[in-house]
C-alpha cells in the first residue's frame, strides 16, 4: 500500500494534471467526431451515392490501427496533442456516423408524412421530428465513441500528447507496478463513469418510451 500512498502524497498535482489532460484530449476528439460524424451520417441517408462513398472512406480509416495512425502522423504533424487529436477523432467518427445514419433511417416514413401533412416545412420536420427521434441513436454513438476514445487516449501518450498514458509508459520503463496500476485503473474508472453519465442522459432523453 505504501508505494501508492507515496505516489499520491508526492505526485497529486501531476496525477490530476494527467487526468485533466486525458479528459480534455478525449472530450475534444469526441466533440470533433460529433461535429464531423453527425452531418456525414445525415448525408448518408440523403443519397445512395454519398452513402457508399462516406461509408467506404470511414470504414477504411477505421481499419488502420490507431497506434499506426499515430506513428504515421508524426512525419506530417510532429508530436504532441494535435496528431493525437487527429488519430482519436478518426477513431471516434465511425460509431457516431453509423449510429446517426441508423437513427435517421429508423424514423418511419409515415411519421414524416404526417408532419408534412400538418403543414411543417422541411426545416421544422427535421428539427421537431427527425432529429429528436434520431437523437437517442446519436447518443448511443457518442457513448460508444467516448468509451473507445478514453481507452485509446492512453496510446496517445506515446507521441507526447500527455494524459494517463504517460503514467503507464513511465511505469513500464521504470518497472513501477504502482504506476501501471494507478494509470490503468484510472482509465477504467473514467470510462465507466463517462458511460454511466451518458447512459443516464440517454435514459432521460428516452423517458417517453413506456
Amino acid at each position: 500500500m505504501q508505494p501508492y500512498i507515496n505516489y499520491f502524497s508526492s505526485h497529486m498535482q501531476d496525477y490530476l494534471g494527467m487526468v485533466g489532460q486525458h479528459l480534455l484530449l478525449s472530450f475534444i476528439s469526441v466533440t470533433l467526431a460529433v461535429v464531423i460524424g453527425v452531418p456525414f451520417g445525415i448525408l448518408t441517408t440523403r443519397s445512395k451515392k454519398a452513402s457508399r462513398f462516406i461509408t467506404t472512406v470511414f470504414s477504411t480509416l477505421r481499419i488502420i490501427p490507431s497506434l499506426a495512425i499515430l506513428v504515421l502522423l508524426i512525419p506530417v504533424m510532429g508530436i504532441g496533442m494535435k496528431p493525437a487529436l487527429v488519430a482519436l477523432t478518426v477513431l471516434a467518427i465511425p460509431p457516431v456516423l453509423i449510429n446517426t445514419a441508423l437513427g435517421f433511417r429508423q424514423v418511419e416514413d409515415f411519421m414524416v408524412e404526417v408532419a408534412r401533412a400538418m403543414g411543417m416545412d422541411e426545416r421544422t420536420v427535421f428539427l421537431k421530428v427527425k432529429l429528436p427521434l434520431a437523437f437517442p441513436y446519436i447518443m448511443t454513438g457518442i457513448k460508444t465513441a467516448a468509451s473507445e476514445i478514453i481507452a485509446s487516449a492512453t496510446l496517445a501518450a506515446y507521441i507526447g500528447s500527455g494524459g494517463l498514458g504517460v503514467l503507464i509508459y513511465n511505469g513500464i520503463s521504470m518497472m513501477k507496478t504502482e504506476y501501471l496500476l494507478i494509470g490503468g485503473v484510472s482509465v477504467a474508472v473514467l470510462t465507466i463513469v463517462c458511460n454511466l453519465l451518458l447512459g443516464s442522459a440517454q435514459k432521460k432523453v428516452l423517458r417517453y418510451r413506456a
Binding site: 408534412r116 400538418m118 427521434l133
Partner: protein, 262 residues
C-alpha cells in the same frame, strides 16, 4: 353550399408504373359532406386522398380546394388548413398528448392560453378526460386512445376539411364501432367536410353521406349509400354490394337461426 373539393380530369401515374394509379377522375364534393372512398388496396383511393393536400402531385388535371386551384397554393400553407389522419396514426412519440395536439396551433402562433383551452376542449370532444390524458406520452395509450388523439390533433386548428386514410383500420372491431359513432357525431356538430378512405364496405356505407366506389384508378359510382345499394352502376359495384349483403345475411341468419349448430 359551396364546393369543398373539386377534381377536374385528374390523373396520376407514378414513375416506372405501367398504368395510372388514378385515371382521369372528375368529381366535386360540397362543403359539409362526409364522403367515404371505398375500394380494395391498390385501387388508387389513397393516392386520390393524398393529392388533395398536395402530398402527391397529379400528373394531369387540376384540383380545387374551396374553389382555389391547389397548384397555385404553397403546399405547406394549404396543409395547415386541412386535417390529416392515417391508419398508422403517427403521433410523435417524443411529445406528450398536449404537445401532439398543439402541433398545428403552435405553428400558427396561437397564445399558450388559447392552445391549452383548445387541447382540453378537443380531449373532451374525443371522450378522453383532459386531466388524465393531457400529459401522457403516446406509448402510454391504447390503440383506440391513440387514434382519438390523432383525430383531436387533426382537428386542432379547426380545419374546414378533414382527410382520413383508413383511420380505424388497425383498431379492434368493438372500439372501431365506438369511434365511428364519435366521428359521425363530430361531423354532425362541426359541419366540416370529411373525406374518409376505407376498404370496409360496412364502414363506407355507415359513415358516408355519399360513397365513392373506386376500382383500378377510376370511380365506378359516386352516390348516396342507399342508391349504391339499390342501383349499383355496374357489375363491379353490384358484385361488391351482393357480397356484402350475402355476408351480412349469413351472419344474421346464424344469429337468429332456430338452433345452435355446434
Amino acid at each position: 353550399m359551396s364546393t369543398a373539393v373539386e377534381f377536374i380530369h385528374v390523373s396520376k401515374r407514378f414513375e416506372d408504373a405501367a398504368s395510372d394509379a388514378v385515371e382521369d377522375v372528375s368529381f366535386s364534393i360540397e362543403e359539409g359532406e362526409l364522403v367515404t372512398i371505398l375500394g380494395t388496396s391498390g385501387c388508387g383511393k389513397t393516392t386520390l386522398l393524398r393529392m388533395v393536400n398536395s402530398l402527391i402531385r397529379p400528373s394531369a388535371g387540376s384540383i380545387k380546394v374551396f374553389d382555389k386551384d391547389i397548384s397555385s397554393t404553397y403546399p405547406v400553407e394549404l396543409r395547415r388548413q386541412i386535417g390529416y389522419v392515417i391508419q398508422q396514426i403517427g403521433l410523435f412519440p417524443h411529445m406528450t398528448v398536449r404537445h401532439n395536439i398543439a402541433t398545428v396551433p403552435k405553428i400558427l402562433g396561437w397564445s399558450k392560453d388559447k392552445i391549452d383551452a383548445r387541447v382540453d376542449e378537443l380531449l373532451e370532444m374525443v371522450n378522453l378526460a383532459p386531466d388524465e390524458f393531457r400529459d401522457r406520452y403516446p406509448s402510454q395509450l391504447s390503440g383506440g386512445q391513440q387514434q382519438r388523439i390523432g383525430l383531436a390533433r387533426a382537428l386542432a386548428a379547426d380545419p374546414k376539411l378533414m382527410l382520413l386514410d383508413e383511420p380505424f383500420g388497425a383498431i379492434d372491431a368493438i372500439n372501431r364501432t365506438v369511434l365511428q359513432d364519435e366521428l359521425i357525431n363530430i361531423h354532425q356538430k362541426s359541419r366540416k367536410t370529411f373525406l374518409f378512405v376505407t376498404h370496409d364496405i360496412l364502414e363506407a356505407l355507415k359513415l358516408g353521406t355519399r360513397v365513392m366506389v373506386m376500382d383500378k384508378g377510376s370511380i365506378r359510382q359516386f352516390d348516396t349509400p342507399s342508391e349504391i345499394l339499390k342501383n349499383p352502376a355496374d357489375d363491379y359495384v353490384k358484385q361488391l354490394m351482393d357480397s356484402f349483403r350475402q355476408g351480412f345475411a349469413f351472419a344474421l341468419e346464424r344469429g337468429m337461426g332456430p338452433g345452435e349448430q355446434r
